[in-house]
Symmetry: C2
Subunit: 255 residues, 2 copies
């Protein structure tokens, strides 16, 4: 791939076969060369986990003009790490994209999302990175209304870059038309009722992880949750540096 | 457990049998009632991942005066979520602790660490939470020199609390005496050489995740990496809100 097109690494957490990642590829094929390295199967909720103890394999799934697709049996972050070392040996990507995720990654979900795991990992490698998510968990969700916005945001970041250590968490409400784009902070919210106990036929109890989400600041119009529930696309600029500088200053000379 | 002692939930990512978590329990048993819910086996690198598709089980491992220990086959975050719902039904813990981890969780490692996964999850539940880590990966690491500092930090947080949405990432250098405690920001650093290719006896290539770490700002004395390499214990106040407010302001009216 020695064209002058930008080179983009795409991964996700729903797996290489998911409609969301294939929609994203389709939206960008004319403006970029693309290498995909995505999980072999769904890896939702894998956050920035990597595989410390599991041997990992890469499999070439598609090899087309301007697009190669690999799958990996690891986590979303494993996909990025292995791809950067093994698939981009000659030229690092100009951008790393996660998604398009089937389901919302706003608010505290940034901490659980494998799609944002991809994005944070790209950002930790100092490569401009964006995670895209649609608030629709359906495997057949309609990504087509997102196309012009995805292209606009990708092209803006390709031409302007992003500050070092900052990536974007972009979420789309489940709509066919949007009121516009809002640049937001992440809302604080809480997951509750997070496990359900069931009884195995052999007589022991086990649990499924599940849960309900509550927005803890529903009146705050500057948050991603507010934007999404009011018809806007949310862009949440997201940092690698998680230091809380207020407490740092308060405690500086307390020890 | 209806005493007036504080009630503490302890988890980790090295597993319930690890020396680090058992050292932490031992350091705090006289000042708190303790419920442990920790992974059945090592879950290093699991970050804030949770198990979306795996049925989870709890097993009671020890039941003593003032201390119950449960294991769970899930991630560190699963342990916290299930414990809060199933083991603390009558009274939520006053504090959640992760560790003591066998190995450093400073700098960008906060994003991969299961010990900090425990801590961030506790913080997302608005419970004062601290992750403790020792820069020594050995399974027989010596945690004893940490005892007075762990007790001091725990007691300070039990009496003063922490701001909502902020937890502590505490790292100890591998020493028997410390120069003191420094409240720090997280250093920016980069992992590289992150996978090693090997050949399976059946003739295919596979990869082990590994890597080397480079501190990208070694001269910066206000960072956790600097503190640790200069003999200090580092406390990095760590936020749930990962919004980058600088880019938020810059981009506010750009769309």
């Amino acid at each position: 791939m020695n064209t002058k097109k930008p080179l983009i690494l795409i991964s996700n957490d729903d797996g290489y076969h998911a409609k969301g990642i294939n929609s994203l590829i389709d939206m960008l094929r004319d403006i970029a060369d693309i290498i995909v390295c995505a999980p072999e199967s769904a890896r939702s909720g894998f956050a920035t986990a990597f595989s410390a103890t599991v041997p990992l394999r890469l499999k070439l799934r598609r090899d087309e003009v301007g697009m190669q697709m690999w799958s990996c049996n690891g986590t979303p972050v494993d996909c990025v790490k292995i791809a950067l070392q093994e698939l981009f040996a000659d030229r690092l990507p100009d951008m790393i994209l996660g998604g398009i995720n089937h389901g919302d990654n706003a608010s505290v979900n940034v901490h659980y999302s494998g799609t944002m795991g991809v994005t944070l990992e790209g950002c930790m490698k100092y490569i401009p990175s964006i995670g895209f998510s649609l608030c629709d968990f359906s495997s057949d969700a309609d990504f087509e209304p997102l196309r012009p916005y995805v292209r606009q945001i990708v092209q803006k970041v390709l031409s302007e870059g992003l500050p070092k250590g900052v990536c974007l968490n972009v979420n789309f409400p489940k709509l066919t038309e949007f009121k516009g784009i809002k640049v937001c902070r992440m809302a604080m919210g809480t997951w509750y009722n997070e496990c359900v106990k069931q009884r195995h036929p052999h007589g022991y109890d086990y649990y499924w992880m599940t849960g309900s989400y509550r927005n803890d600041e529903p009146e705050q119009e500057d948050t991603d949750n507010w934007a999404l529930t009011h018809g806007y696309i949310s862009i949440t600029p997201t940092r690698i540096d998680v230091t809380d500088y207020d407490l740092l200053r308060n405690w500086q000379n307390k020890f």
